[in-house]
């Protein structure tokens, strides 16, 4: 994308997404943990269908979302296996992904990822499927924990701190 259209893109992007970019200036080495932490990111009782919850994982430089969709998913938790979580950095060139109608949409080049089907790029330019967050739900409390990442987070040489 040329510089000019990039500016235009940024003008038209939602403010909430921009907050995430501004956080990405820190060095990855300083931020990334050595192993995937177990992090409580929500509770199934508080999730409303198709209303995603934003969080960062495995560190503060990696925006993600948790969403309850209408159907069973690959890798989903909960009684209906319909709660899934993904990185919200487009794997194509790092733009923010917006959740809508069961998919993540990138407004830079219009890649779209199916959250029910393993984050596959069903349309667009991203040759890598979006990174999916490994979830665990505590059946007793309904708490949902992020416990790993499958796939590379955009812009990194590794999801975790390089050894």
């Amino acid at each position: 994308m040329s510089d000019i259209s990039r500016r235009k893109f940024l003008q038209t992007t939602s403010a909430s997404a921009l907050l995430f970019f501004s956080g990405l200036n820190n060095t990855q080495a300083a931020a990334a943990p050595k192993a995937y932490p177990s992090k409580k990111i929500g509770n199934i009782k508080n999730l409303k269908p198709n209303e995603p919850l934003a969080f960062n994982y495995p560190d503060e430089q990696s925006p993600c979302l948790l969403v309850k969709v209408d159907n069973e998913t690959i890798g989903g938790v909960g009684p209906q296996k319909n709660v899934v979580s993904f990185s919200t950095l487009c794997t194509h060139m790092g733009c923010p992904l917006t959740y809508s109608k069961g998919r993540l949409v990138c407004k830079c080049h219009y890649s779209m990822f199916d959250v029910s089907r393993n984050g596959q790029t069903f349309q667009g330019l991203a040759s890598q499927w979006v990174a999916q967050i490994v979830l665990r739900m505590d059946a007793a409390t309904g708490n949902i924990y992020a416990e790993g990442v499958e796939g590379l987070i955009y812009g990194r040489i590794g999801n975790l701190k390089l050894s």
Binding site: I4, S5, Q28, H109, Q123, L125, Q132, V149
Partner: protein, 855 residues
């Protein structure tokens, strides 16, 4: 949880990693890539690495540096050692500026690895025996081919040899391989039964433009950013030439190129965000993405199948009526003698505007209002009287339409009538599919019926029992040729007849005895000796007698040009070809040199000479040898139109290696003043490519309905749906690479059909179910997507897929003027499939790929 193994870190190339420049192996965009190779056990660091990027920093969005899971692989070289391979988009390329598509982003995954998903690459020449194929030596393979070919020429004539080969660049091919094929088949064998990869004959798909004096690649990527209006006509740019669309057209629609326009345009000329007209029967992703960006500046016209040239002529008539043309330009730059035929037949000036447009409305299904709006966007002068700048790009929806010649000619003429060629922001030509790399000795059929044609239909020749040897190179006609079921059935029968004869008493192991028996079979049966030369086994190769292993992309030094700037670059060698696989040109040279030796041995100097000039040792030598075909390229800038579009005379591999991603734009001319080699950014500023430099007009045919092969269906209620085909963004051609890449196969596991919700409801069909699509030509079982991409009464199918081809359904009709097939239109029935659904549907995405809306 993942459907296939994912990575969460990638190796880092050390500072001294091997570095090469190349160009993507896929589409016409030709994105630049940088290749890094380093021993598997070695690593650079975040701060010090061959990428010259600080990897301790997380990449910013749109920074132009992307290194993803799909851009890395581990290869084994012939020395037995393992190496990391990273193939990443080149930020310094002005074509892609670090951007890449879902195809190019997986270039690294296509590299040959002995234990990975490409392990089934062809490694040895294979000869068909009683129970399948057995490996043989190159010496034996070459002896068999050359001796059988020679005997066949001597006994039955050169036309007993037929071929179907690529004529293009990219896909692991280039000028080198094309020159090799040209020398063997055109100079040496001299058969008339030549055909080009995707079609039944040896022809240009755009003689309708070339015979006007306008080569189809006459613009630059910059023109897509400078145009006031972009017209995409039967050209799904977002999905087919993805980076060209997203990097050059999209910024224009967003208003991101206004400053560039202000610099290039005339003083006082209005410069604003661009408009786009998309002419396509289907509401494809190019349209819906454009609408997402700026719906008010998108016009979508959906003509009835086969009627586009009537629409182009109607738009031209509106422009004429409004005097949206420059009479001075027409007088000076175009041939006013042939213009009379254009005025009478295409513009139909003897009829009133109302009568012409009423008829056009009826034929095309496009309203007069839409036509007037489109004509205005194309041709109406801007405020201040400045000429509008319109870039018109057409592709398979036009060239593979009914009446190929007239369709292309009508669009070319609309653009020249409105002065939309040769200025910044203008141009008229192909969007392209693959890249190009054509250099061959003169073809036996130089043009359409108006210029020495039409060329012979090789499919009809082969299926009708003609020919003895059929050599297929880097194409899979069982999937890709029109009316493919009939073709496959006919070839299989003839191949089986040959095999049965050879098998009677056992297939001889000794090459000489084998050759003798093949020649006997030629006498006694209609047997066809098919040779398939490719990188993998193909659907067609199951009926070959010999399979030859070719080197792929990155396994030989190749050169090609892209379509959107004619940018010539080097595609360097960074991989070892598997086993005994050889570059195409080398295989062809081995056979040519053997034929030469066989004719010399019997003292036939005339024939031996025909096979001379193939004694090349290196890729660079073949490139240089081919360049002489272009003749003298000493020319001043104003004479560029006299040069062949792909002329690279004087350019060497060494020079291209130094130029890297910058490349040089063809035609390359030797400047008479400076003696330097200079590329050509944009064509036809001064004159056209005809003898007198004037654009030659042509009066197109009137509408006379559909050809018999399709007309039989028109009022037949058994086949209620119009049917058209196209491609998916994900996969390249027959999926020869992509079916081995999990990301691709999981997302596109089956051939698919798009159907309108109204029609689907009537057939009780839902997304995710399967249906049989069929007509009298053939059938295909497909995964169903119900969406609004098609109109009621029209269904769309993926053209071909590794698991089934919709070309079974297309007719055998070709344009009598050019022998180009109408792949894109016929009629079919659709029947719901009630068997068990394919397991792949459990993991495939069933979401609509033309809906980008959020919220």
């Amino acid at each position: 949880m993942s459907l296939f193994k994912r990575k969460d870190s990638l190796p880092i190339p050390p500072l001294d990693a091997e570095k090469y420049t190349t160009v993507c192996q896929y589409c016409s965009a030709g994105c630049g890539y940088n290749v890094f190779v380093w021993p598997e056990k070695r690593s650079g660091t975040a701060k010090s690495n061959a990428f010259q990027v600080d990897l301790s920093q997380q990449s910013q969005l749109l920074s132009g540096f992307s290194y993803t899971e799909t851009m890395h692989n581990v290869i084994t070289r012939k020395n037995g050692n393992r190496y990391n391979l990273a193939i990443i988009p080149a930020k310094e390329s002005r074509i892609n500026k670090g951007n890449y598509s879902i195809r190019g982003g997986t270039n690294a995954l296509t590299a040959y690895t002995p234990t990975g998903q490409t392990k089934d690459r062809l490694k040895d020449p294979l000869l068909r025996k009683e129970n399948g194929f057995v490996a043989i030596s190159w010496d034996d393979a070459v002896e068999i081919i050359a001796t059988v070919t020679k005997s066949s020429i001597d006994k039955y004539g050169a036309d007993s040899i037929a071929m179907k080969f690529y004529d293009h660049g990219s896909s692991g091919l280039g000028f080198e391989d094309n020159w090799g094929a040209g020398k063997l088949f055109l100079s040496g064998i001299q058969t008339h039964y030549l055909s080009i990869h995707n079609r039944p004959a040896y022809n240009s798909e755009v003689w309708g433009s070339r015979e006007r004096g306008m080569h189809e690649l006459n613009y630059d990527v910059d023109d897509a950013r400078l145009a006031d209006t972009i017209v995409l006509w039967g050209a799904n740019a977002y999905e087919g030439a993805t980076v060209f669309f997203t990097e050059h057209m999209m910024p224009n629609l967003q208003g991101g190129s206004v400053e560039e326009k202000q610099k290039e345009f005339d003083a006082g000329e209005p410069a604003e965000e661009g408009r786009i007209i998309i002419i396509d029967p289907r509401k494809n992703a190019t349209i819906t993405v454009s609408q997402e960006i700026n719906a008010e500046r998108v016009l979508h016209l959906r003509p009835n199948l086969g009627t586009d040239w009537i629409l182009a002529n109607a738009l031209a008539r509106i422009a004429w009526e409004n005097k949206w043309y420059d009479n001075d330009y027409l007088q000076k730059r175009t041939d006013m003698v042939t213009f009379e035929a254009y005025k009478s037949k295409s513009l139909q000036l003897a009829k009133s505007l109302d009568a012409v447009l009423a008829e056009a409305e009826k034929i095309t299904g496009i309203s007069r209002k839409e036509m007037e709006e489109a004509a205005g966007w194309i041709a109406k002068p801007k405020t201040g009287g400045f000429k509008r700048r319109t870039l018109t790009l057409y592709e398979k929806g036009i060239i593979w339409n009914m009446k190929n010649y007239d369709q292309v000619a009508a669009i070319a003429q609309l653009n020249v009538l409105t002065s939309n060629v040769g200025r910044p922001g203008t141009g008229c030509g192909r969007l392209g599919g693959h890249q190009e790399g054509y250099v061959r000795p003169g073809a036996p059929t130089p043009g359409s019926i108006y210029a020495g044609g039409p060329p012979k239909n090789v499919d009809n020749y082969i299926t009708g029992g003609g020919g003895k040897i059929y050599w297929v190179g880097a194409t899979d006609p069982y999937l890709s040729t029109p009316n493919s079921k009939f073709f496959k059935k006919s070839v299989k029968k003839r191949a089986t007849n040959l095999l049965d004869y050879l098998d009677n008493g056992g297939i001889p192991s000794d090459p000489k005895a084998y050759i003798a028996k093949v020649l006997e079979a030629f006498e006694k049966t209609d047997g066809l000796f098919m040779i398939v030369q490719d990188i993998y086994r193909t659907h067609t190769s199951e009926d070959a007698m010999l399979i030859l292993p070719a080197a792929g992309w990155g396994e030989a030094v190749d050169t090609s040009i892209n379509c959107h700037s004619r940018l010539l670059r080097i595609y360097d060698k960074f991989l070892d070809a598997p086993g005994e696989a050889l570059p195409d040109w080398k295989i062809l040279a081995l056979v040519g040199n053997k034929l030469k030796a066989l004719y010399e041995a019997e003292g036939n100097k005339v024939m031996a000479e025909r096979f001379g000039g193939m004694e090349w040792k290196t890729d660079a030598e073949v490139f240089e040898a081919g360049s002489h075909e272009f003749g003298d390229n000493k020319a001043a800038e104003i004479d560029e139109a006299k040069l062949s579009a792909e002329c690279f005379k004087g350019v060497t591999h060494e020079m291209l290696r130094k130029l890297g991603n910058e490349g040089i734009q063809t035609p390359v001319r030797q400047d008479p003043a400076s003696g330097k080699l200079i590329g050509t950014k944009r064509r036809y500023k001064y004159s056209f490519a005809s003898k007198d430099g004037l654009f030659k007009w042509y009066g197109t045919d009137a509408w006379t309905g559909y050809p018999a092969e399709v007309a039989k269906y028109v009022d037949n209620p058994t086949y209620p749906f119009w049917f058209t085909t196209g491609r998916s963004q994900h996969v390249w051609q027959t999926m020869y690479n992509d079916k081995r890449i999990p990301e691709k196969l999981l997302t596109l596991p089956l051939p698919y059909l798009e159907i309108h919700p109204d029609d689907a409801a009537r057939l009780n069909l839902k997304t995710g179910e399967m249906a049989e699509v069929f007509n009298e030509e053939g059938s295909c079982l497909a995964l169903v997507y119900v969406n609004d991409a098609t109109k009621p009464g029209l269904v769309f199918g993926l053209m071909y897929h590794a698991k089934g081809t919709m070309n079974n359904l297309t007719s055998s009709y070709t344009d009598p003027k050019t022998t180009i097939p109408w792949y894109k239109g016929t009629k079919v029935a659709v029947k719901k499939y009630t068997g068990k659904l394919d397991d792949a549907i459990k993991t495939v995405s069933l979401l609509s790929n033309n809906d980008f809306t959020t919220g």
